[in-house]
Symmetry: C2
Subunit: 163 residues, 2 copies
């Protein structure tokens, strides 16, 4: 299996980030990796962090919250709300980093079936301003997401092998 | 009391609409007009429509849904979810027009106190794409919002007079 490549598009004038990556997996496995907290903690975010899911209520109006913890105990909290019922058609949710309260993005994830075992993951985030988007980019988000998607690739490979 | 003027900014390349308008009212009255369904139905949307609130659960993760009904019975449904606890600091919510499912915006409303009896209302909507934003503009949204804000102005005048 070729390792996928993360593509990040963040045009200068747009309050938006679009991230795409192909995975050697059927779409339902990717959906599970996004919605099952036991799988989510195995891939979301940088390798050096431990992820703790506080709430993950996968339904319309369901709230979610998780924490990324550094080895030294420093914690970064994130929370939001699901809009619509998450399904293979996609997941829509709000997203707020608790270190900068009041700055919210709207994140959508879709799982485009390319063939039986190839899925194009597409993450679309829109921010309340271009400044908010730029702050997110400058936080090193791109590297964190890329590392997370590498881990997702590894998790998917284990799940596919286990089927 | 001078009638306020609605200002709508929708730059060509941005998936965003910003609407501002001054109201001759303290911010808490405007907040009530946004969060009390009995007041909401008196102003939100065009005059020719009847508004019916189906759900309006004003809390983090609370879902909302309302319908605008034409005289001929045609109904337009809208729904979303509140992100964060609505307060005088602002209201953040998702918004979806049920006639075009799957197209969601993130709407924020803030109430900036200019003086004891003047508040600047600011509505910021970001869309998942510029195309989605353009479709919203082309739906006649601007005129509908302006008419709604005229009605809000009238409601506020009645509430202020009643204090």
């Amino acid at each position: 299996m070729n390792k996928g490549k993360t593509r990040v598009v963040a045009e200068p004038s747009l309050p938006q980030i679009v991230i795409t990556r192909e995975f050697a997996a059927p779409s339902d496995l990717l959906f599970r990796a996004y919605t099952d907290p036991d799988l989510l903690v195995q891939w979301l975010g940088p390798r050096r962090m431990t992820m703790i899911v506080d709430r993950y209520d996968v339904r319309h109006g369901g709230t979610w919250r998780y924490v990324h913890r550094e080895a030294d105990g420093t914690e970064y909290g994130f929370h939001g709300v699901f809009h619509g019922t998450p399904s293979l058609d996609g997941i829509v949710q709000t997203f707020e980093f608790e270190a900068v309260p009041g700055h919210v993005s709207l994140d959508s994830v879709t799982f485009e079936v390319l063939d039986d075992r190839t899925t194009l993951l597409r993450m679309n985030s829109v921010f309340q301003s271009v400044a908010d988007r730029d702050a997110m980019i400058q936080s090193g988000m791109e590297q964190g997401v890329d590392e997370g998607l590498d881990r997702l690739d590894e998790l998917i490979a284990r799940l596919v092998a286990g089927r």
